[in-house]
Amino acid sequence: MTQVPRLSRRARWAVPAGALVITGGVIAGSLITVAQAAPGLPPRTAAQLLVDAAQATTPPLTGTVVETASLGLPSLPGTHNPTSVASLITGSHTVRVFYASPEHFRLQVPQQLSETDVIRDGSTGWLWESTRNAVTRFALPPHETHAKERSSQAGVPMTPQQAAQQVLAKAGKTTTVTVASNVSVAGEAAYQLSLTPKDRRSLVGQVTIAIDARNSVPLRVQVFARGASSPAFQVGYTDINFVAPSAWDLRFAPPPGAAVSQASPGGIQGSGKAVQNKAADGATVIGSGWLTVLEMPSSDLTGAALAAGAPGASPDKTGSPVAVNGGAGDTSEVVRALLGSAAPVHGRWGSGRLLRTSLVSVLITDSGKAYIGAVDPTVLYAAAGTAGK
């Protein structure tokens, strides 16, 4: 039997200290490599990247998409509920993607001890909400996306190369399109297209789109506020594998005991765009490009909040089938919190309240109009001035 050399008392403490240092080092190292990796790829022009992206068909993949927004908003209520609108604009969202083809995919929004799923299995679409134990079934027309592609191509009979050139030429008036340094997104080497607004009055500093070098799949979109080094809004894969998901995971049958409701495809589009339509009712678009300002009666903002905030205003059965549970109530709280933090302003256009975030400005005039845009407040004032005359 050998004698194991005894460690001195002080040397013994080196073991936990060493373990702590290694743990900290590994954590810090993983954070730094994520931030700095810039893979080497053959150079490509912006036009070539656009052509590749337009021509590529998304291969089967499984992955995780994370959406993060930090718009510099005041702290909002309801952000803890991952399905709420508030968490969309302040928090972080995770979606697990299982994609085989445009007609066969599953999107999972996992939350703690619950889950919301969107499944498309051929001509049937399903929405599953585990907290409500409810299934919504959609009958979908087949080849919907193909039809859309065909119609868009029929209108512009050109090669993708020409289309790319035209897009670039058109965008070139307002936007500087460049190829930024390559990045690694979810472990995939990717090219980066950078779109920079030429007008300094836009609050958007830069939009970057990471395009996978192998499959030309967009991997990440980042929106930077002017002068910001970290993105105000980001959506991208944190994990991606170009392998087909198992057919079993793409199938869905309403579980026994679940409440099943039907919705027509018109219903989906209607409810999907409900917010948009509602806003569009009394809304007008002022300006174009990056300086687009949306004008609407301010009652659309506050009124929607009040209506949604009324208890029992949208019970589960009568509400829109796609309305996310608890979303409506949170929206009203969010709008109220936002309006509460707006600062009073006045000028030649009149007076009102201004809400500024790093990426979006909202002006609510005392005359009952609301102006929203990713622009400097002066643009909103100008819009309010011209609209007032």
Binding site: W13, A19, Q108, S114
Partner: protein, 302 residues
């Protein structure tokens, strides 16, 4: 002198140690004997038995309360209790409800009592120096103590699952299990997932036990160690629920506890599970090494 019988620093070697070590052929068997004795001591202590009994009562109370409030079978019950809607159709879900509820405080406290008492209790009663006279070495004694904590946590977790499963089967219908993703699997497959969920929770409790063991080596007052562990758990849960501190969330000891829900998705979210298990392993390693450094270098006078 064998490595096993090497007296730890600060404790003078008794004259009988060498001969004692010579008579024991297998250190494994010696470890097993010491472990068995310790486990019996802990499991049969009336206080700990009472703790396990209380732990077993909780799933019963939850099950009966949920049965009386009778969730409507067609859903629309709101999102107050996780899995609540599924429970009406399947008693198996009582296990998940019980585990996720008890994980907030009850299971951690049960583990904290045993872990906090493990070394500090002996020191407090003045029995630690007699225990160190056993020819086992402090390292091995600490390993035995930790093994007992892990076993006790495992017992408590499985008692919760077993009682909840029995109560769920008695109070609600039992059948194919609907996972969080809306996929329905057979009852057998559901029970396999339940087994893994229980094991995952037990691993989480084992990691907490390591934290408790480390704290227990710092004090002679068991109650102080127990309270400290409970405070750490609650603080970690509070910090984890503050959205502004989301960046530190994944590094908190309690952050991955409820990630057992990854096992209830289809397909299983292995990345979340592995993150959780990695976090538990790192916590266990860090705090076990801390406890070892402290316990083997400290002067024991009580």
């Amino acid at each position: 002198m064998s490595a096993a019988s090497t007296p730890a620093a600060g404790a003078p070697a008794g004259p009988g140690v060498v001969t004692e070590a010579g008579r024991i052929p297998s250190p494994v068997r010696a470890f097993g004997r010491l472990f068995g004795a310790e486990l019996r001591l802990v499991l049969l202590r009336r206080r700990n038995l009472l703790l396990l009994a209380v732990t077993a009562v909780f799933p019963l109370i939850i099950g009966i309360a949920l049965r009386l409030s009778a969730p409507r079978p067609q859903g629309g019950n709101g999102a107050g209790v996780a899995f609540f809607n599924q429970l009406s159709g399947n008693g198996v879900f009582l296990t998940f409800i019980a585990l996720s509820t008890l994980l907030i405080l009850v299971l951690p406290v049960v583990v904290a009592v045993v872990a906090g008492d493990s070394v500090a209790g002996e020191a407090g009663y003045g029995t630690l120096r007699y225990l160190l006279a056993v020819p086992a070495g402090r390292t091995r004694l600490l390993a035995v103590k930790y093994g007992v904590i892990v076993t006790f946590g495992l017992c408590a977790t499985f008692i919760v699952s077993a009682v909840a499963l029995a109560a769920g089967a008695a109070l609600f219908p039992v059948g194919p299990v609907t996972l969080l993703s809306g996929t329905t699997v057979s009852l057998a497959a559901g029970l396999v997932r339940l087994l893994f969920v229980t094991l995952y929770v037990a691993v989480a409790m084992a990691a907490l036990g390591a934290v408790g063991l480390a704290i227990s080596t710092l004090t002679e007052h068991a109650i102080g160690a127990i309270a400290a562990i409970a405070i750490i758990v609650v603080t970690s849960e509070v910090v984890d629920s503050v959205p502004q501190l989301a960046a530190v969330g994944p590094y908190l000891p309690t952050h991955w506890w409820l990630s057992f829900d990854s096992l209830l998705r289809a397909p299983v979210d292995t990345s979340a599970l592995l993150h959780g298990l990695l976090s538990f392993a790192v916590y266990a390693l860090l705090f076990c090494s801390f406890a070892w450094a402290r316990f083997t270098s400290a002067d024991v006078t009580s």
